[in-house]
Symmetry: C2
């Protein structure tokens, strides 16, 4: 499977005007190799060019991983002393004849650490952004990938259902986040979580990217839980918003608006329409309700091995949806300093519509 993925990459390199790509540890490297490398203070880089065996530069202590590659690679290992590292990168670039060529990179993944060594190895090369070429590889999910995501959604939903009875007034956001992570593991999530859950209540829920704090959950809070599980390297990314005891009428109202917005976004998702349509459909509901300026982010992002990948559900994204594309629909309303709501589902485009992988109730549920 990884061999055919590699072939697909070299085919797209031929049409993209790139001579090679340079990949550091991250989803693309894992997708192409089936191997997990971590981002360390020692650079690991895979160079892939058409018609040649890929080249891997890595620290000597990672050499056992070379054996795990599903196809032949050339390895250049370096020792513990950083002054030797550039030399390994120079040999690697020479092996593929890369200097002066166009070597694509992933700016969201590659650090200056790796980049500066790659560049020392091929100082005359250009390093264009290859995100589109590379994310194109992973854009349309095959059946095995969708099955893994479906399982990751099921694990996440079961874990949250098991956590709901534990949600008690006086608990801190951090305590609730820990309980949720335990339930995710108990229900079978991989121990490398896709992301740390967001558990945010009251004023914190009005920050879409809050981290759990020591603030105690209080009656009258809205409680946003944004969580996911990992299964076979694929993830889920969901959000539900709860009411802690009785909450103000306005908060019940914005919850209902977001629920309608989420439904409208999901209904707009089908093959052949631009990503923008999903955003516009969801945003329209919130704008018509008068809360447009409190919906401060795009409606969704792609999902698969990562929590944030193409395609993006943004009002200006004219990319057409195609079967196999997977993404979130997650509108929200955030009343700064007060309370916020977000409702997030995971969808996969099918031949004639979209399959919503998540089916947990979206109505406001009272906890505490």
């Amino acid at each position: 499977m990884t061999q055919s993925r590699l072939n697909k990459l070299t085919a797209s390199l031929r049409t993209s005007g790139l001579s090679a790509v340079a990949l550091n540890p991250g989803p693309t490297l894992t997708y192409l190799s089936g191997i997990g490398f971590h981002l360390m203070e020692r650079p690991v880089v895979l160079l892939v060019a058409p018609d040649q065996d890929p080249v891997l530069v890595l620290p000597e202590l990672e050499l056992p991983k070379v054996e795990l590659f599903p196809y032949k690679i050339q390895a250049f290992a370096y020792g513990e002393n950083p002054s030797e590292w550039d030399d390994a990168f120079r040999k690697a670039a020479q092996a593929l004849g890369l200097d002066g060529k166009r070597i694509g990179v992933e700016p969201r993944q590659m650090r200056l650490l790796e980049f500066r060594h790659v560049k020392a190895g091929a100082p005359e090369a250009d390093y264009p952004d290859a995100t589109d070429v590379l994310s194109g590889l992973r854009l349309k999910k095959d059946k095995a990938e969708v099955d893994a995501m479906r399982k990751a959604v099921k694990i996440a939903q079961d874990a949250l259902e098991a956590t709901i009875p534990q949600m008690k007034i006086g608990m801190t956001e951090k305590e609730l986040a820990s309980e949720l992570v335990m339930q995710l593991l108990k229900h079978g999530s991989e121990s490398e979580m896709p992301f740390a859950p967001i558990v945010s209540a009251g004023p914190n829920s009005a920050n879409p990217h809050a981290s759990p704090t020591k603030r105690k959950i209080q009656v009258g809070d809205l409680l946003v839980v944004d969580w996911g599980a990992a299964h076979d390297g694929y993830i889920s990314d969901l959000t539900r918003t709860f009411a802690v005891g009785e909450v103000d009428e306005e908060y019940q109202k914005i919850h209902k608006i977001v629920q309608e917005s989420n439904a409208a976004g999901r209904a707009a998702a089908k093959p052949g329409v631009p990503c923008a349509n999903v955003d516009i459909a969801a945003r329209d509901v919130i704008e018509r309700s008068g809360y447009g300026k409190y919906f401060t982010h795009r409606t969704g992002h792609g999902i698969g091995m990562e929590g944030h990948e193409a395609p993006y559900m943004r009002g200006d994204n004219m990319q057409l949806l195609e079967p196999g594309m997977a993404f979130t629909v997650e509108p929200g309303i955030y009343l700064a300093g007060r309370n916020g709501v977000r409702i997030e589902d995971n969808l996969v485009i099918t031949e004639d519509g979209a399959d919503c992988l998540s089916d947990m109730p979206r109505e406001i549920r009272v906890v505490g």
Copy 2:
């Protein structure tokens, strides 16, 4: 506290020849601000220059975090469309008058994503590696930091003790890793783990950086568990090696050698001696035993907010140990394709020696 850290940074900038530093989300940014930002596909960068309020470039949806800063900052927020982002970075660089100056960066943390935008904002600036200046800030831990690390060690040790009775023949490495993470959370670790535990048995234990697999634990395996907890943003990073049932005599022997090596490394740690001494003392035990070429990595790395930071216990590192420096001592022997051993402790240098924060038994223990 973060104000005094910021003052310390601007003082070191004055003596370092740097006009500013550019920081993306990561430990240094958290250390200086007390705020957790995540690495996203949208760049967040803090620019710090002496005698001026720091400047933060961030997406509009992160604006609530500006309020959390413990000192005055200038914020430049950008919208969802990436074509606007460079403009925010240009304004930010102009606000501090940075173009053409020397702006320090952290190559291990900064991605090309942030770097290319920073550079678009100040195209004539130089971007030297400021790792030494910045890691110098965090190099010597104060009492509160050591207390947090001590707690992180206690949580980790208690969690592993609670996991040992669950270690059963036929269990997969992944299952055991999940159980351990659950115990870490149950014992109070923050839900953002410092790193995913390594649980590797038999041939996998001979790979120092193995990820847990679906391989079942078998009689005769050595079982390496490399794990840690997080408390108040500080982490622990420990390793113990177990015998699954009865193991070959050679494996018992290499365990004993590594245990002696670990003790020698710990004994060499004291103020005023070079980091190299710790590596040399630990390595010498393994070399004298004839297994020198199977100890394929340095003896240790610094520890604090990160699992890998300065100071590094490497044979060529002449940096002198000083009170407050915290690091791991973790020698190992790896017999490729067969079995491996590593024993890792966490130390803090004191006025007259070193305080070993971890005290879990290091002798080989039989499980299964």
